[in-house]
């Protein structure tokens, strides 16, 4: 028998869901609101919520002081580049693990995941030195490589889970029907894996876009993406909250819009396998 859902229960569930949703969204909402306040209102005690003099002055200041377009372009370049590079490395890896597994495949997958358990700062020093040696410091290429490596375990895991869901019999049917390896990949596997590859791409683009540790530590001026743009508005003294908020809003706006339009794809990507 299906579990009875009473009207009361429905209301409680809905209210709880909204409460959790708002709780998660509140910091972003507060940042956006603060970006329209004057520096004085931004730090007012008690804080003001909506009843203040809305102003665009912070955006003017920020756009005047820094080259937003350059940071934006760096972000797109680095997030996009690391995602594409990650897929180029990750697809064949996940492919072989899903379709021709060895008895060590599970261990390798776990080992890859375990690299995410190390705090990034633990390898900052060696990576910094390597970057100096290779001349990659403050270069977009260097950041693309580092971010790709950071996200690679997730890329491989997600793709592996997707590929695992493709029934082996369909591939065998293809083989019986005369498809060689190339035809099998081109006509059967790839079309069936497209939703999975798309979700992986989206999630990794977002992760790379928001990555702040490496982008802040390995860049100075040339390759700095939007994370560095935000950080440049934090200062140890004086009033900076409103301008910092304006910078943050401008930095997250593109990714928020992207997320909004692809939310269906994202949700299905993250819950894949659980609901089917």
């Amino acid at each position: 028998m299906a579990r009875a859902v009473t009207q009361k229960r429905k209301i409680i569930n809905t209210a709880a869901a909204w409460a959790v949703g708002l709780l998660i969204f509140f910091p972003i909402l507060w940042t956006i609101l603060t970006s329209f306040k004057t520096e004085a209102t931004a730090v007012a005690d008690p804080p003001v919520f909506l009843a203040f003099d809305w102003t665009l002055a912070n955006y003017h200041d920020v756009l005047e002081r820094s080259n937003y377009a350059r940071f934006l372009w760096n972000s797109i370049f680095i997030a996009g580049g690391s995602t594409i590079l990650g897929l180029i490395v990750g697809i064949p890896a996940a492919w072989s693990m899903a379709f021709v597994p060895s008895n060590k495949t599970k261990d390798i997958l776990l080992w890859m995941l375990s690299t995410k358990m190390l705090p990034a700062v633990g390898v900052l020093y060696p990576i910094y030195l390597i970057f100096i040696k290779l001349g990659l410091l403050d270069s977009r290429t260097g950041l693309i490589i580092v971010l790709m490596l950071m996200n690679l375990p997730i890329i491989v895991w997600m793709l592996y889970t997707y590929f695992k869901e493709i029934p082996g019999e369909i591939l065998e049917a293809g083989r019986m029907d005369g498809a060689g390896l190339k035809d099998e990949i081109l006509f059967i596997l790839t079309p069936m894996a497209v939703p999975g590859i798309a979700s992986t791409m989206l999630l990794n683009f977002i992760l790379a876009w928001n990555e702040a540790f490496w982008t802040l530590n390995l860049t100075a001026a040339k390759a700095a993406p939007l994370t560095a743009f935000i950080a440049s508005y934090s200062s140890p003294e004086g009033l900076f909250f409103a301008k910092l908020s304006a910078a943050s809003t401008m930095a997250i706006a593109p990714i928020l819009i992207l997320g909004w339009f692809s939310q269906k794809q994202l949700v299905s990507g993250l819950t894949f396998g659980a609901v089917k």
Partner: protein, 334 residues
């Protein structure tokens, strides 16, 4: 055409030996059924013939040509899978066309064959649908259509009906048999259902733990099973196998009597027993009878038509001596 020979074929997965050395001859145009309990290696054997698994040793030849090392596509065989294994992102038309596309058959010939197959399989109205929009029976037809258009040397069926409901299964069984009559192409069919094996096969191959227990026509197996295993596996309801004193009186370790070869009477007979369950099917009545002298297993008795007996009734039973099977202590037919 479609003559397939297996010579000393073995298959091991790591340490586990699934198929011991096995020889088998399948003639052109024959409908051969591999039957056996789950895990007997029947699907593995089919996959070895298909080329989806490599033999560990031995040789497989198709039409006199050694096919042991050939890729599945080069063997000229078509396969219908248990899960249908249709391409979910392609329309029915594209699914059926796929093997022809791979074989680079000209478009107009492709179209002609698709139309012919669709007509034969009642799929004409569904050609532009995706597999997800079809019922189980229709999907199975598409899978068969995809196999037909290649005009293969032989068809391989891997439990194709086990995902269908009972009524549909009988219908599809007839369709596959008609297809065989029409095409006269070799068909190898794997099932665990002995009714399918009996009704469809020209030749049944009974397998147990990778070994061939017996090869023969359905009635050969029914009338003269080579051993107790085949005797118990072929026939429905299954043969009564009786050990002990009753068997010794026939100079055998075990005697086998089919449920339909036992006469029932309320007044006289050889064995007397108590009915534990009676199943009234209308056309037949199956009785499960306890006779203490014959061991703990109840005897199954089949009576034509209806007889007014119920749980707890005492009846007499007499086996047909002519149709009794005798087995020695190794289970082999005497």
């Amino acid at each position: 055409m479609g003559r397939i020979t297996l010579e000393k074929v073995t298959k091991s997965f790591g340490e586990v030996n699934v198929i011991p050395p096995l020889d088998l001859e399948i003639n052109d145009g024959e409908f051969v059924v591999f039957v056996g309990p789950s895990g007997c290696g029947k699907s593995t054997l089919l996959r070895l013939i298909a080329g989806l698994e490599d033999v560990t040793s031995g040789a497989i030849s198709i039409d006199g040509t050694d096919a042991t090392g050939l890729a599945p596509a080069q063997r000229g065989l078509a396969m219908v899978f248990q899960s249908y294994a249709l391409y979910p992102h392609m329309s029915v038309r594209k699914n059926i066309a796929f093997p022809m596309k791979m074989a680079k058959i000209p478009e107009d010939e492709q179209k002609r064959r698709i139309d012919a197959a669709a007509k034969a399989l009642n799929l004409t109205d569904y050609l532009d649908r995706r597999p997800g929009q079809l019922s189980g029976g229709q999907r199975q037809r598409v899978a068969i259509g995809r196999a037909i258009v290649r005009e293969p040397q032989a068809f391989l069926f891997d439990e194709p009906l086990s995902n269908l409901d009972a009524a549909l299964r009988v219908g599809m069984r007839l369709e596959i048999m008609e297809l065989h009559e029409r095409l006269a192409t070799t068909m190898i069919y794997v099932t665990h259902d002995q009714v399918e094996a009996m009704t469809m096969a020209d030749k049944i191959v009974v397998l147990r733990a990778g070994h061939i227990e017996q090869v023969g026509s359905p009635l050969d197996l029914y009338h003269s099973p080579r051993n107790e295993f085949v005797a118990g596996f072929i026939g429905s309801p299954k043969m009564n196998l009786i050990k002990g004193e009753a068997a010794q009186s026939h100079n055998a370790a075990t005697i086998g009597v089919r449920p339909e070869h036992i006469a029932v009477s309320t007044t006289e007979g050889l064995w007397q027993g108590t009915i534990s369950v009676s199943e009234h099917l209308g056309s037949d009545t199956f009785l499960h009878v306890h006779e203490h002298g014959l061991g703990d297993e109840p005897l199954t008795v089949r009576v034509g038509g209806e007889i007014p007996v119920k749980h707890g009734d005492r009846i007499w039973m007499t086996p047909d001596q002519e149709r009794m099977h005798r087995f020695d202590k190794n289970g082999l037919r005497m």
